[in-house]
Amino acid sequence: MNTTSRNSEDSGIEARLAARLAGTLTQATQNLPHDVSERLRVARQQALARAREVRLAVPAATTVAGVSAAGALTVSGFWPRWQRAASLLPLVLLLFGLIAIDQWMTREQVLTAAEIDAQLLSDDLPPAAYTDPGFAEYLRGSPPP
C-alpha cells in the first residue's frame, strides 16, 4: 500500500517535471530562425494546395461518371436507337454483298459445268470412248494436229 502511494507520487512528480520541460521546449520553438519559419509556412501552403487539388479531383471524377451515365441514358432513347441502327447498316450491307458474291460464284460454276457437258454430249465422239484404254493410247501416240 505504502509502495503504491509512493509510486503514484513519483509518477506525479515525473509528469510535472516532464510538463515543465515540455513547456520549456515549446518556448524554445517560438524563437526559430526566420528562414526556418518561412520554409515551414511555404511547406504548409504547398500541402494545403495539394489537399485542395485532391478534393477537387474527387468531385471531377464523379462529374465525368455522371456525364457518361447521362450519355448512356440518351443512347437508350428514341433518336439514338436509329443512330445505333444506322451504325449497323454497313455490317448488313457487307453481309448481303458476301451472300450475293457466293450466289454469283455458284451460278458461274453451274454454267461452266453445263457448257462442258453440252460440248461433250454434242461431240461426234461418244463420252464412253474416253474410258477406253486403247483410245487413250491412240491419243497419246498420234501427233498433235
Partner: protein
C-alpha cells in the same frame, strides 16, 4: 472531413514542434525541413478527408515514417538501430532526487524577471541540447507523450510498441533529463 481552415490551423499548430522533432532525429535543419514538408504533403494527399480530430495522430505517424525514410535514404539505418539500443544503458539513477530538480525548475522558470533573460535563453538551449542527447526511443516517447500531449495508448500506437514500453521510455527520459540538468547546475 477536415476543412481547409482546420487543416491549415492544424499544420500551423504542429509545424514548429514537428520541425524540432525532426531536427532532434536527423540533426540537420535542412533535412528536418524536407522531412516536415514531406510529411505535410503526405498528410494532405492521403488523409485530408479525415476528420480534424484524427489529424494529430496520423500526422505524427507520418512524420515518424518520413524520418525513417530519410534515414533509409541516407543509408544510416545501422546508426538508428544503434541508437534504438541505447535506452538499455540507463537505469541507475543513484540517489539523485527528481523532486529537487522539479522544484528548482519551477522556481527558476516561474519567477522569471527581465534580468534573467540571458540565462533563460541559455537554459532553453541547454534543455534543447539535453533532449537531443536522449536515446531515440526515449526522446520520441517523451516528445509524443508530454510535448504532443498524447496519452500512453496513442503514443504506443505512433511508436509501434507496447504501452509498458512507452511508460518505461518516458520515465527514463525524464530521469535522464533531470539528472543531466542537475549535473549542469540546474538550478536551471
Amino acid at each position: 472531413m477536415a476543412t481547409d481552415k482546420e487543416l491549415s490551423d492544424f499544420l500551423k499548430s504542429v509545424e514548429k514542434r514537428a520541425f524540432k522533432r525532426a531536427v532532434y532525429a536527423v540533426r540537420s535543419d535542412d533535412a528536418a525541413l524536407d522531412i516536415v514538408q514531406d510529411a505535410m504533403i503526405r498528410l494532405a494527399e492521403k488523409y485530408a478527408d479525415r476528420p480534424a480530430a484524427e489529424l494529430p495522430l496520423v500526422f505524427q505517424r507520418i512524420l515518424s515514417n518520413a524520418t525513417m525514410d530519410w534515414f533509409r535514404r541516407e543509408k544510416v539505418r545501422s546508426a538508428v538501430v544503434q541508437n534504438l539500443s541505447e535506452f538499455d544503458s540507463g537505469g541507475e539513477d543513484g540517489d539523485f532526487d527528481l523532486l529537487e530538480t522539479l522544484h528548482a525548475l519551477e522556481d527558476t522558470m516561474g519567477t522569471e524577471s527581465a534580468s534573467d533573460a540571458v540565462s533563460r535563453t541559455q537554459i532553453l538551449r541547454l534543455i534543447d541540447a539535453e533532449v537531443e542527447q536522449l536515446p531515440t526511443r526515449q526522446r520520441e516517447a517523451f516528445l509524443l507523450r508530454y510535448w504532443e500531449e498524447f496519452d500512453v495508448a496513442e503514443t504506443a500506437g505512433v511508436m509501434g510498441c507496447s504501452e509498458g514500453s512507452v511508460k518505461t521510455h518516458c520515465s527514463r527520459a525524464v530521469h535522464a533529463l533531470a539528472k543531466a540538468l542537475k549535473i549542469k547546475g540546474i538550478t536551471l
